[in-house]
C-alpha cells in the first residue's frame, strides 16, 4: 500500500536505456515469475508501479505483470486521447503509451491484427501479432477488447523489440532438409503419393521465418525457421532451427492422430437404465456412430470408417495404445439392438456432453466447428492390466474399466465423460499448458464443466470410485477439495486454498492436485450467483481471455472481467469474494492492480526515492535528481516525501 500515486519523471532521449537495461529494470530475478507466493494486490502493487509508470498519456491504469515475462499484462489505461477516434486510432494510442513499458522501438510497425471477432454481446475482440522487421515474434500475441467501440483492455504476451539480425544465413530449403533428417529420430518418414498429399491438404514440410525465444527468461531472441513436418499421416512435428547457425532450438510434436481402420465387434448396457442412443446402419450392420446431431456432415462422410461430425464409440478390445498390438474395432450390431452396457454408457455420455456445450454455449462440438466426438472403451495399461483411469489424448477419450481405485468402468459416469470432453474444448480454446498453475487450470476447467454436465452434485467420480479407498465416496469434490482427507497424499485430497498449494515438481507441478483451488472458487461463485450464470462466466473466461500460459491470478482477472461483460457488479463481487476466499488474489479488484487512489494533497519538501536491494532486505533514501528511474525501477518514488513515508515492500 502506498500513500500516494507515484510520479515518474520523463526520461530525455539522450538518457534512454538499452533493452537489456529495461529488462533488468523489471527485476525478474528478484521477483521470480513462478513465485506464486506473491498473490495479493497490495504485494503486487510494487511491481506494477515499476512496470507501468503514469506519464503524459497515461493518467491512470490497471495492470499486472505477465506470468512469463513480467512485463505489463491485463492492461487498462485512462488518459486524454487514449480513447479518442475509431478503434484503430485508440489501439495505436494505447500501444504508443505502452511503448516504454514494453521496451518497444517502432510500435507502429510491430503489431498486425490477425483476426477480429464480435461476440454475442457486440463486444469486439482483436488478436494482434507482434512483429520485428516484418518477422513475427513467435507466440507473442496480444488481445485487444472493445466495448461500445471503446478499447478497454489489452492482454497477452509482448516482449521488448528484439535485437536480432533478420536476414537468415540459412535458406528455408536447408532448414527443411535438416528437419527431414532430425525427425527420423522420432518417427517414420513416408514419401507421400499425390493422393496422400491431397488428403493431407498441405505441404509435407513447411518453413516460416520467426523470431523465437528459446530461453524461459526471454533474454535471447533467435531468428529461426519454424519448420512443420508431417513425417507420416499419424504425426506432425514442429522444429525451431536457428536461421543463422542451423542449431535445433526446439523440437515439438503436434497432435494429428489418425486411428487405424476400425473393425467389427459387439455391444451391450451398464447402469441398467434404458437410454435413447443413435447408431448408423450401412451394409446390413448398425454401427455405434451417432450421425443425428446438427454437426453431421453427410457430404464429407464416408461411413463407417471416415465419418465427419458424429459421436463415435470405438472398442479398444482390452489393448493399450502404447503397444504395437493396439486393436480398435467398431461397435456393431446386426440390427439396431445393443447389449453392451459399457458401449452404451460411453456413447450416451458423449452425446450428453456434446449436447451440453451446444445448448449451453452454442459450441458446435469439441473443436467448435463440428468435429467428431470419439470415445474408445476397453483400454488397458501398457502391461495389459485393467486401466484405473480415463484420459484425453488430444483427439479422443480413452476409458479404462477400473482396477483398484475404480470399481466400475470409467465410461459409466457422466462426469468422467464431461471431464474428458472438456479437455478437448480447453485444448481448442485457451489451450492451457499442462504445467504448473496453467495445468491446474486445465484440470479445473475439465472438472468444472464435468460437474456442470453431471449437474446433480459437486462430486467427481462418485459413481465409479472404490469407496473403501476414497473416504468421501468421490474422487474429488469441488465444494470441499480436502474431500475427507487431511493432507497431501491422502486419497482424493486436494488443496482448498492457496495456503495449501503444492509447489513440488511431481505431476508437472501438481496439475492434478492444485486444481482443487480454482474448483472451489467456481463452487463458491456458482453458489452465490447460480450455476447457470457461473458456467457462462467461466466459459467466457476460458474462451475469450485466458491464454496458454495463464496462471491463477489470470483466472481471477478473466472471470471478473467476464462477469462484468455478461452481467454486472453483483456477479463481479461474487467472483472477487470467491477468489479472495481461496487465496487467489485479494482486495476488491479483479486481480489487476489499479492506481486510482485519490490524490493526496502535495506535501512541501524535497523529492526523495526509496531504493531497495534484491530481496528487498535493505532500504535507502536517495535524492531523486541523482537517479535514473528507468535504470533503477525498483525505486519507489514518493513525491516530496518529508519527513516520514509510509510504504509496504513486497
Amino acid at each position: 500500500m502506498i500513500a500516494q500515486k507515484p510520479i515518474m519523471t520523463p526520461v530525455a532521449e539522450s538518457e534512454r536505456h538499452t533493452i537489456d537495461e529495461i529488462r533488468q529494470s523489471i527485476n525478474t530475478e528478484a521477483l521470480p515469475l513462478v513465485d506464486r507466493t506473491i498473490r495479493t494486490a497490495s504485494e503486487a502493487s510494487l511491481r506494477t508501479i515499476s512496470l507501468l509508470p503514469t506519464n503524459g498519456a497515461i493518467e491512470r491504469y490497471q495492470a499486472q505483470p505477465h506470468a512469463q515475462t513480467g512485463l505489463p499484462d491485463w492492461v487498462r489505461l485512462w488518459g486524454e486521447g487514449l480513447n479518442a477516434g475509431d478503434t484503430e486510432e485508440q489501439l495505436r494510442a494505447w500501444l504508443s503509451a505502452l511503448t516504454t513499458s514494453w521496451g518497444l522501438q517502432k510500435v507502429d510497425e510491430e503489431f498486425i491484427t490477425t483476426s477480429v471477432e464480435t461476440d454475442d454481446s457486440g463486444m469486439e475482440h482483436r488478436l494482434l501479432q507482434q512483429y520485428y522487421n516484418g518477422v513475427p515474434v513467435y507466440g507473442n500475441e496480444l488481445r485487444a477488447h472493445f466495448k461500445d467501440d471503446q478499447l478497454y483492455l489489452l492482454n497477452g504476451r509482448v516482449t521488448p523489440t528484439p535485437n536480432v539480425e533478420t536476414e537468415p544465413a540459412i535458406a528455408a530449403a536447408q532448414a527443411e532438409e535438416l528437419v527431414k533428417q532430425e525427425v527420423k529420430r522420432h518417427a517414420r518418414v513416408k514419401h507421400f503419393s499425390n493422393q496422400e498429399l491431397l488428403l493431407l491438404g498441405e505441404e509435407q514440410v513447411q518453413a516460416e521465418l520467426v523470431i523465437f525465444y528459446a530461453d524461459e527468461a526471454f533474454q535471447e531472441p533467435h531468428l529461426a525457421w519454424s519448420v512443420t513436418i508431417v513425417p507420416n499421416l499419424a504425426a506432425r512435428w514442429q522444429y525451431m532451427i536457428d536461421a543463422h547457425t542451423g542449431i535445433v532450438l526446439r523440437e515439438h510434436d503436434h497432435i494429428c492422430h489418425l486411428l487405424p481402420p476400425p473393425e467389427v465387434t459387439t455391444a451391450q448396457d451398464l447402469f441398467g437404465i434404458s437410454r435413447t442412443i443413435h447408431s448408423f446402419e450401412t451394409g446390413g450392420q448398425n454401427f455405434l456412430i451417432d450421425a443425428s446431431r446438427p454437426m453431421f456432415n453427410a457430404q464429407s462422410s464416408d461411413i463407417p470408417n471416415d465419418p465427419v461430425g458424429v459421436i463415435w464409440t470405438i472398442n479398444g478390445n482390452n489393448t493399450s495404445p502404447a503397444n504395437d498390438d493396439f486393436e480398435v474395432t467398431h461397435n456393431t450390431s446386426p440390427g439396431n439392438f445393443w447389449n453392451d452396457p459399457l458401449a452404451v454408457s460411453a456413447h450416451y455420455n458423449a452425446g450428453e456432453a456434446y449436447r451440453y456445450f451446444l445448448e449451453t454455449f452454442n459450441r458446435n462440438s469439441i473443436n467448435g466447428s463440428g468435429g467428431n466426438v470419439v470415445s474408445l472403451i476397453n483400454i488397458t495399461e501398457d502391461d495389459g492390466s485393467d486401466m484405473d483411469n480415463a484420459f484425453w489424448n488430444g483427439s479422443a477419450m480413452f476409458y479404462g474399466n477400473g482396477n483398484t481405485a475404480f470399481t466400475s468402468p470409467l465410461a459409466k459416469a457422466l462426469d468422467v465423460a464431461g471431464h474428458e470432453i472438456s479437455h478437448g474444448v480447453i485444448q481448442n480454446t485457451s489451450n492451457l499448458e499442462y504445467q504448473g498453475e496453467s495445468g491446474a487450470l486445465n484440470e479445473s476447467f475439465a472438472d468444472i464443466f464435468g460437474a456442470m454436465i453431471d449437474r446433480e452434485d459437486w462430486q467427481m467420480g462418485e459413481d465409479v470410485v472404490n469407496g473403501s479407498i476414497f473416504p468421501s465416496g468421490a474422487l474429488r469434490d469441488l465444494s470441499n477439495p480436502n474431500n475427507g482427507g487431511s493432507g497431501l497424499g491422502d486419497p482424493g485430497w486436494q488443496p482448498a486454498h492457496t495456503n495449501e498449494q503444492f509447489f513440488g515438481s511431481a505431476d508437472n507441478g501438481g496439475v492434478h492436485i492444485n486444481s482443487g483451488i480454482p474448483n472451489r472458487a467456481f463452487f463458491l461463485f456458482a453458489s452465490a450467483i447460480g450455476r447457470d450464470r457461473a458456467e457462462q462466466v467461466f466459459y467466457r473466461a476460458l474462451t475469450t481471455y485466458l491464454t496458454r500460459s495463464s496462471q491463477f491470478l489470470d483466472l481471477r482477472a478473466a472471470v471478473t472481467q467476464s462477469a462484468q461483460d455478461l452481467y454486472g457488479q453483483t456477479e463481479v463481487n461474487a467472483a472477487i469474494n470467491a477468489f479472495n476466499t481461496v487465496g487467489i488474489g485479494s482486495g476488491n479488484s479483479g486481480g489487476t492492480v489499479d492506481d486510482n487512489q485519490d490524490d493526496l494533497e502535495v506535501n512541501p519538501g524535497e523529492e526523495l526515492i526509496l531504493p531497495t536491494t534484491d530481496g528487498n532486505n535493505d532500504l535507502f533514501i536517495r535524492r531523486a535528481r541523482d537517479l535514473s528511474l528507468i535504470a533503477d525501477p525498483q525505486l519507489l518514488l514518493i513525491q516530496r516525501a518529508s519527513p516520514v513515508l509510509r510504504m509496504m515492500v513486497a
Binding site: 518417427a187 502391461d383 497431501l488
Partner: protein, 145 residues
C-alpha cells in the same frame, strides 16, 4: 613406510570399489542423485506411478505424488549400468517435454543436472527411442508390479 602405505592403499582399492558396488539402499537411505526414474501419470484419476532404477540394480516404486518409496526388486548392477548408460548415450540429448492429459516420463537425476523426457499417452508421435526405452525399463520390474 610410505611405500608400505601406498601398497596397502592400492591393494585395498578393489575391495573398497567392490564394497561400494554392494551398497544397498533402503527407502530411508535412498540416494539424492544418480538414479533413473520412469513412470506414468495424469488422466481423470490424476494418478502418478514412479519407478526408480539405481546403478546397483535396485528398483523402487512410489505411488502418488508424495508416496513412500517401496523396494520393487533388483536387477544385476551390470544391467542397470548398461541401461543408465544407454539413456545417457541415446536419450540425454532429446529435448522433449510435452506431457498430455495422461503422460509417460523418463528422468535422469544426476549430481549436476536433471534431464527429463515426457510424452502424452495415446499419441503416435512420442519420441520413438524414448518410448522403446521406457518399455525396456518396465520389463525390468517384477511381473506383479
Amino acid at each position: 613406510m610410505k611405500i608400505i602405505l601406498s601398497v596397502l592403499a592400492i591393494s585395498l582399492l578393489p575391495l573398497l570399489l567392490w564394497q561400494c558396488n554392494r551398497t544397498s539402499y533402503t527407502p530411508a537411505t535412498f540416494p539424492e542423485t544418480d538414479y533413473l526414474s520412469f513412470g506414468s501419470g495424469g488422466g481423470y484419476a490424476g494418478a502418478l506411478t514412479t519407478h526408480y532404477l539405481l546403478p546397483n540394480g535396485q528398483l523402487f516404486t512410489t505411488e502418488g505424488i508424495v508416496g513412500e518409496k517401496v523396494p520393487a526388486g533388483k536387477i544385476s548392477a551390470r544391467k542397470a549400468k548398461r541401461l543408465i548408460q544407454e539413456y545417457q548415450d541415446s536419450l540425454s540429448s532429446v529435448q522433449y517435454d510435452v506431457p498430455g492429459n495422461a503422460y509417460y516420463f523418463l528422468e535422469w537425476t544426476g549430481a549436476v543436472e536433471k534431464h527429463k523426457i515426457q510424452w502424452a499417452k495415446g499419441q503416435d508421435n512420442a519420441p520413438a527411442a524414448a518410448a522403446d526405452f521406457y518399455k525396456q525399463l518396465l520389463a525390468q520390474l517384477p511381473k506383479d508390479k
